[in-house]
């Protein structure tokens, strides 16, 4: 009897991990988007005891980098264990050296890769094939899947064929599009797979393991005499791979009923024009072929699954003889090549053929650029042209190289009966979660097929989410965003003005708006372009005040369940009653009987979702004159903002032509664009009460977004200030006669409340109030920021915490999380040194909020125009990159010194003096600035030719403040080798480690900074080993300035450490404790500063400074700045964070043991600092 097919609703990463887990004994892992989830699943399954095909848990080991993971894979394979790994992009590139080794030694490892763009002019976490193409020469077999179902079906082929062929396999699929797309697919079981393993081959693999029982030598060094021959001898193994893959694909086809070969053909058997491609686009092409077939047009697709070894035999097996024209589509650009890789491979195959079709090259979909049926249609149209174009691009407007095929109107090529829906939500309102729930309900409880894909913006606070859902009675292909929806829901009323949400909504479709207004007001508030669209396209328009209902039911801003129910009510994609029943069933299941109140609340939310009101769309709306959607600005802003920033933020960046980036070919973006975004995402903002204010400026210090600042006004400025401006006489003799006020930027605040919590006034001088009450502050902020500015030059901003806040932050309004624990440190550094700072920033949270196009929060000083020069190279190389920047700057500064010295005697006397002064002070920041400012005009007046040479180098005159920023994943793990080398070099660079004790940006994986007992991904059952003491390692050099700081524990120690580190003429390392959403603070992110305070008070974190200059004065360079901890609070600290408490609830025995160890570790570490602080540095006789 045939086995019943089992379906599950999963994403591509889970499908790949499911198969990889079955076949592997060891997994060596490292996080990188979008592959991290595969490793996370493997780690979680192992923690919960899931068994592989060999009846055991997979041994999952996290390494310090992908290079490390590849080394571990290599070693584990060599030991005789079937081993896998998961990676993408830069990670895959770091594995390349080992891939050559693994292949060279014929070891059957399998890599699963969610293919992602390799960073070049910019980083991108999204998908293309540039990473996979980079591995073409390694000797790995490369196997491609184009859909979630294919991943499930083909991943096993990779493992099975690797064992039989002895050739390692890289199984890849499109990052995000396939890795994160959720589909209802047929799942393959262990039993189906087990019998397919070639046991003889497996035994041989084990027998060949490196083992002293039968010792051999591997990895010899060979000379010109034999290396070549020894390489060629393995060729027969490659000759068999395609046949072995074919054998297993046939087996898989028998199991699944879905036909697979190294190459497959789809379309008309007598097609003349075909496309060759691989990856998810092949599904889109199939849809388009069907669309064209319905019009009687014969086209075809040749899908490449086995890309390496590239087998012409299997290619020609399936290619129709009728083919006259072939377009090969590549999802990568190989600059400078005569064609992109797949195209060259295909063209080459025909070289010796008598019949050679016309072979055209096209490039599409870089960095997950959505590739739609209309684009495929353009490709087929091109082929049908009398003079078809080659080396074209599709999906963009290339008005510079004129490579692009014309963009066609979107067509609807989805399978008949497919329902398409699109939802616009806010990251925090649960829209994505609710849609995942809908997909699960429909996928798991009905016969329907489902598909879901979620898109997010780059902001970590207040970001928009779009959910793209499809439902149908037949399997869904369509690996592209929903472009022609039947249903559009807008969960956030303010989006009406910001986005063109109705674009593509089908005639007769539905628009559901969460409206906070009554019917008539809603109608009034609709922008004309929406009104017109509704009327022109017979759209059924519904509203529901989910915001009010959620508040009424006590659900806060969680409108998701209400809107989800409304979707089911209106769409009828499944019977509404069934949807309600299933939603409620899931509700009870999640909350149990005790959660009765919550169940009731959610059930009410479900019921209230039915309260939708249909608004009759007046026919006259059709007559409205409506401009196409665009962002309207009331004030003049730089052209870059209107031309680039606004369209990207309005989600129409896809429309920007190539020429929009002319002059920015190297990826450069101007500073300070975030100031123009004015996102207005906070529902509450702080209100300053002058009467209670003590003018301490601490609110400003702790603000993660620089949205609350002190200003000093003279009488005239106060008089001109907008009406209602209140100010206090400024405290302090240096501010005599000035007025003081605290100003909030309503539109830049994220509402985290940190400032209110921090306010030390007896009666708080700040309180959170609804944002809508603070509109008057917008104008006031603009006046203060633009007209009044900062009076920081009249004081020493480095002297006190209070003074520091009068300086203009040159890091403002980033997309960091509300309450971010990192950004206050970054902001403070820019306030102290911003005008001469160069920053090298490791990839991670700080680079994402630091420079996600189009938002650049690093900015320039209002008066000088100087500011933070910021750049991100990679993750692993940050210290080296910063070191290189410093080395280059030093080199050119030393040239200035050399030139001046060489020509000193020839220079005018006044120039001589100033030149000498510059040389004497060139390594002293303040003096060098003064000397440079004096020297420059003198040089300009000088007649000596060297003056001109130096003027050409004037950007190097002032000593630069060299900073290297990054998180603990970089500093403790992947970049540690570089960091170590750079501090060892003695170079004058300042390294700021924003220590969140976890890989924050990639979703919370364990690093070597993660303390024992903390739960993190890759440490599901609690981290087993102690946190690395990075500071002590750095101190061991003796000449590195090292400090450990926590702003919330001591603001003055933080300031002091940053000041000393920058002044120290050598390498400095500051490790800054940074609470993060990954910690799960039980009091919420408004408590980040308090949490830092508790961390030090309880002994969890310690404050110290190690200043080598003190040793020169025979003083102990190590100063322990924190008091003896109150150890009774240590466990209290752990109990305050979900990363710890969750271990107690999930692995209580581990928690009991590890929390004890954590306390012992903290004590051990503290005592080692105490001992260091007591060392005697007086000279001995």
């Amino acid at each position: 009897m045939a086995e019943t097919k089992k379906f599950i609703t999963v994403d591509g990463n889970m499908a790949a991990a499911h198969i990889a887990y079955m076949f592997s004994e060891v997994a060596a892992i490292y996080p990188i988007t979008p592959s991290s989830n595969m490793a996370e699943y493997a780690d979680e399954w192992a923690a919960y005891g899931r068994k592989n095909l060999f009846g055991e848990e997979v041994q999952v080991v996290e390494m310090q980098s992908e290079a490390g993971a590849a080394g571990a894979v290599h070693g584990a394979l060599q030991s005789g264990a079937l081993t896998t790994t998961f990676t993408a992009s830069q990670g895959l590139l770091l594995m390349i050296p080992n891939m050559y080794k693994i292949a060279g030694e014929l070891l059957p490892g399998v890599f699963h890769v969610s293919a992602r763009s390799v960073a070049a002019h910019a980083l991108s976490i999204f998908g293309d094939h540039s990473d996979v193409y980079s591995t073409r020469g390694t000797g790995f077999a490369l196997l491609a899947s184009g859909s979630v179902q294919q991943i499930m079906d083909i991943a096993g082929v990779a493992h099975l064929a690797a064992i039989r062929s002895r050739i390692p396999f890289l199984h890849f699929f499109d990052g995000f599009r396939s890795s994160h797309e959720i589909q209802k697919i047929e799942v393959l079981s262990d039993d189906q797979m087990r019998g397919l393993i070639d046991q003889d081959a497996l035994k041989k693999f084990r027998d060949q393991a490196l083992n002293p029982e039968h010792p051999v030598t591997r990895g010899t060094a060979q000379n010109p005499d034999v290396f070549f021959q020894a390489k060629e001898v393995a060729q027969p193994f490659y000759d068999k791979v395609a046949d072995i893959v074919e054998e297993y694909m046939v087996e898989m086809s028998k199991l699944t009923g879905r036909e697979y070969h190294p190459f497959t053909y789809y379309g008309a058997p007598d097609a003349e024009n075909i496309i060759v491609a691989m990856g998810s686009i092949t599904e889109t092409i199939q849809e388009t072929i069907d669309y064209l077939a319905a019009q009687g047009k014969k086209t075809g697709l040749l899908t490449c699954h086995l890309y390496r070894p590239f087998s012409s035999k299997y290619f020609f097996n399936v290619m129709p003889k009728s083919v006259k024209r072939v377009t090969v589509l590549d999802r990568a650009k190989e600059p400078g090549a005569s064609g992109d890789p797949l195209y060259l491979d295909v063209r080459d195959m025909f070289y010796d053929n008598e019949a050679r079709p016309m072979i055209l090259a096209g490039r599409y979909g870089l960095s997950s650029k959505d590739t739609t049926p209309a684009q495929i249609l353009a490709v087929f149209n091109n082929m049908a042209d009398e003079k078809p174009r080659t080396h074209f691009t599709v999906g963009i407007v290339d008005d510079v190289n004129h490579s692009s095929l014309p963009l066609l109107p979107e067509i609807n090529a989805v399978a008949k009966g497919t329902y398409e829906a699109k939802f616009y939500g806010l990251g925090s309102d649960g829209t994505v979660g609710a849609n995942k729930n809908s997909i699960k309900i429909i996928g798991d409880t009905t016969e329907k097929y489902v598909q879901a894909y979620f898109a997010y913006d780059s902001k970590k606070s207040g970001g928009i989410t779009t959910s793209h859902l499809r439902f149908g009675d037949s399997p869904i292909r369509s690996p592209y965003l929903v472009g022609t929806p039947d249903f559009v829901a807008c969960h956030v009323p303010s989006y009406l003005e910001k986005y063109d949400m109705l674009r593509g909504l089908k005639k007769g479709g539905v628009f559901l708006l969460n409206s906070i207004w009554e019917v008539e007001e809603t109608k009034e508030r609709l922008p004309n372009h929406i009104k017109k669209y509704l009327a022109d396209n017979d759209i059924k328009f519904y509203i529901l005040n989910a915001t009010a209902i959620a508040r009424e039911l006590g659900l806060g801003n969680r409108t998701n369940t209400i809107m989800q129910a409304a979707f089911f009510r209106i769409s009828n994609v499944i019977p509404y009653e069934k949807a309600v029943y299933e939603m409620k069933k899931a509700n009870v299941k999640s909350f149990g009987r005790k959660g009765e109140e919550i169940v009731k609340m959610n059930n009410l939310a479900i019921d209230r979702g039915a309260d939708v009101t249909q608004i009759e769309v007046p026919k006259e709306w059709s007559k409205l004159k409506a401009e196409p959607f665009k962002v309207v600005r009331k004030e003049a802003v730089p052209e870059f903002i209107t031309k680039i920033v606004d369209p990207i933020n309005a989600m129409i960046g896809d429309d920007l032509p190539v020429s929009a980036f002319l002059g920015r070919e190297d990826g450069t973006f101007p500073s300070g664009t975030s100031a123009y975004e004015k996102r207005g995402i906070a529902s509450t903002v702080p209100l300053w009460d002058a009467n209670n204010c003590i003018q301490c400026n601490q609110c400003s210090l702790v603000c993660p977004h620089a949205a609350i600042r002190p200003f000093l006004l003279n009488d005239e400025e106060l008089a001109k200030a907008p009406a209602g401006t209140k100010a206090l006489p400024a405290i302090g003799k240096e501010f005599k006669g000035l007025h003081y006020l605290i100003q909030v930027s309503t539109l830049d605040c994220t509402g985290c409340e940190d400032c209110v919590v921090e306010c030390p006034a007896k009666t708080k001088a700040l309180a959170m109030v609804p944002t809508e009450t603070q509109e008057a502050e917008i104008e006031r902020w603009n006046y203060m920021a633009k007209e009044v500015g900062n009076k920081d030059k009249m004081i020493d901003v480095k002297k006190t915490v209070k003074n520091s806040q009068f300086a203009q932050p040159l890091f403002e309004f980033s997309g960091a999380c509300a309450g971010c624990g990192e950004t206050p440190y970054v902001k403070l550094v820019t306030q102290l040194f911003g005008e001469r700072m160069i920053v090298s920033n490791a990839t991670g949270c700080s680079s994402i909020y630091g420079g996600s196009a189009p938002s650049t929060p690093y900015t320039t000083n209002r008066e000088s125009g100087k500011g933070v020069a910021w750049a991100n190279s990679l993750f692993e190389d940050n210290a080296e990159y910063g070191f290189g920047l410093a080395t280059g700057v030093n080199k050119l500064r030393s040239r200035i010194a050399r030139k001046l010295n060489e020509h000193m005697a020839e220079l005018e006397t006044n120039v001589q003096e100033l030149a000498k002064s510059w040389i004497d002070s060139m390594h002293d920041a303040a003096a060098s600035e003064a000397a440079s400012n004096a020297l420059l005009p003198a040089l300009e007046a000088s007649k000596h030719p060297v003056a001109k040479e130096i003027i050409d180098l004037k950007q190097y005159l002032i000593k630069k403040s060299m900073w290297i920023f990054g998180g603990d994943g970089w500093a403790y793990d992947i970049g540690f080798g570089g960091l170590d080398h750079v501090i060892a070099s003695g170079e004058d660079v300042n390294i700021l480690v924003l220590d969140t004790e976890v890989y924050s940006n990639t979703g919370g994986q364990s690093s070597k900074s993660t303390p024992v007992g903390a739960v993190a991904k890759f440490a599901t059952a609690g981290k087993r080993t102690r946190k690395k003491d990075l500071g002590s390692m750095a101190m061991s050099y003796g000449y590195v300035y090292v400090a450990q700081i926590a702003m919330g524990a001591s603001q003055s120690q933080t300031l002091k450490a940053i000041r000393e580190a920058e002044a120290y003429k050598g390498p400095s390392l500051i490790i800054a404790y940074s609470p993060c959403i990954n910690h799960g603070l039980r009091g919420g992110m408004s408590q980040t500063q308090n949490e830092q305070g508790l961390s030090v008070e309880s002994g969890y974190w310690h404050l110290y400074r190690f200043n080598p200059d003190l040793a020169k004065e025979n003083k102990n360079p190590f100063q322990l700045d924190s008091k003896e901890p109150d150890w009774s609070k240590f466990q209290m600290f752990l109990n305050n964070e979900v990363r710890y408490t969750s271990l107690k609830k999930t692995f209580p025995e581990a928690a009991s043991e590890l929390f004890h160890v954590a306390e012992e570790n903290a004590k051990w570490r503290y005592m080692s600092y105490v001992r260091m602080s007591q060392m005697d540095y007086t000279p001995k006789e």
Binding site: G430, G595, I1077, G1080, F1147
Partner: protein
């Protein structure tokens, strides 16, 4: 020599004072102090399935609070499952290891399937007996008293089927027919009855117009109801009787034994005083026994139970206090036929 030994649920106890389920037991040091102070056995704090449900919910919310906000961090924590009763079982095992006296587990579950499942797991943790706690507030107006009792009887059946250790039932006094309910449970195999549960009774703070949850400790005189039922049940059921509520002095315990209880449970007395107060209770009992010339508890256990008193109406019409107090006089006036 005074002998305070007694048997309860088949366990040999050195005296009749058991420390009832409470948070006193969460710290191992306190647990040892209880033992040293003279506790004959300890009931570990209850395993509440509802608490596990709530914790699961809370944990789920905490772990997923920031999900789905950014492409790279669609989740922040691994997918973790609440370990259910595992944390409780671990503490229970630690407690068992630390103690020489018997340790009794307490269970309050919700679903019919979890009662025996959790009971089995508690037994496997090594406890000497199990106390099942039927405390719940029924707020379904359509549920009959019979149905509720039938569910509870089934629960006892189900648990007795899967565990070998003795099982006592802690119940509330709010049954239409308490004696009838106890008898049916007795027949279902309960090895003991703990009478009674103190109810969860939040109060209302009129100043702030909200609920508040004051400490619900028992007071002097709170033992009367338990005293009545110990007296009425002694000798009429196979199971043992453990009386609780309002056992604040040695004489309160003596009263219970006179009425027929095998053991008593104390909690409030230890919160109100200190742990060592347990010794005082034991001393008071010994002093009373000395003064009465009793050598062992068996000599006076149940002496004033319904079965053994001459005035059978002492245990009837309990609500008519006036009549109860003066029943001898009534009988005097109206001699029995």
């Amino acid at each position: 020599m005074i002998n305070l030994k007694t048997k309860y649920l088949g366990l040999e106890l050195k005296n009749p004072i058991i420390v009832g389920a409470s948070n006193l037991v969460t710290d191992l040091r306190t647990l040892k102090r209880l033992e040293e102070a003279g506790a004959a056995a300890i009931v570990y704090k209850s395993l509440f399935e509802e608490q596990i449900q709530l914790e699961t919910l809370e944990m789920d919310e905490q772990l997923n609070e920031y999900n789905d906000r950014h492409a790279e961090m669609t989740s922040l924590f691994p997918s973790m499952e609440h370990a259910g009763p595992k944390e409780h079982l671990m503490h229970l095992r630690e407690a068992k290891k630390a103690l020489n006296i018997p340790l009794i587990a307490s269970l309050n579950a919700v679903y019919d399937v979890t009662w025996p499942d959790y009971a089995k797991q508690l037994e496997e943790a090594g406890v000497d007996a199990l106390e099942i706690n039927f405390f719940s507030i029924v707020d379904d107006p359509n549920k009959s008293a019979d149905a509720i009792l039938a569910e509870q009887i089934n629960t006892i059946h189900d648990i007795k089927k899967v565990v070998k250790i003795p099982v006592s039932v802690k119940l509330s006094p709010f049954y239409t027919n308490v004696i009838g309910a106890v008898t049916r449970m007795d027949n279902a195999g309960a090895d003991g009855f703990v009478m009674f549960n103190r109810l969860f009774e939040p109060s209302i703070d009129v100043d702030h117009e909200k609920h508040h949850f004051p400490w619900n400790l028992s007071n002097e005189g709170d033992n009367r109801l338990a005293l009545r039922y110990a007296g009425m049940l002694h000798g009429n059921i196979k199971a043992d009787i453990c009386s609780n509520t309002g056992i604040l002095r040695g004489t309160d315990a003596i009263q219970m034994i006179l009425a027929g209880a095998n053991t008593v449970q104390v909690v409030s007395a230890l919160y109100k005083n200190k742990i060592e107060y347990l010794g005082t209770i034991l001393h008071e009992m010994e002093d009373w026994m000395k003064s009465k010339n009793y050598k062992s508890l068996d000599e006076f256990r149940g002496k004033l139970s319904r079965k053994n008193v001459t005035d059978p109406y002492a245990y009837k019409r309990a609500q008519y206090v006036d009549i109860l107090w003066h029943s001898e006089r009534i009988f005097n006036r109206y001699p029995k036929v």
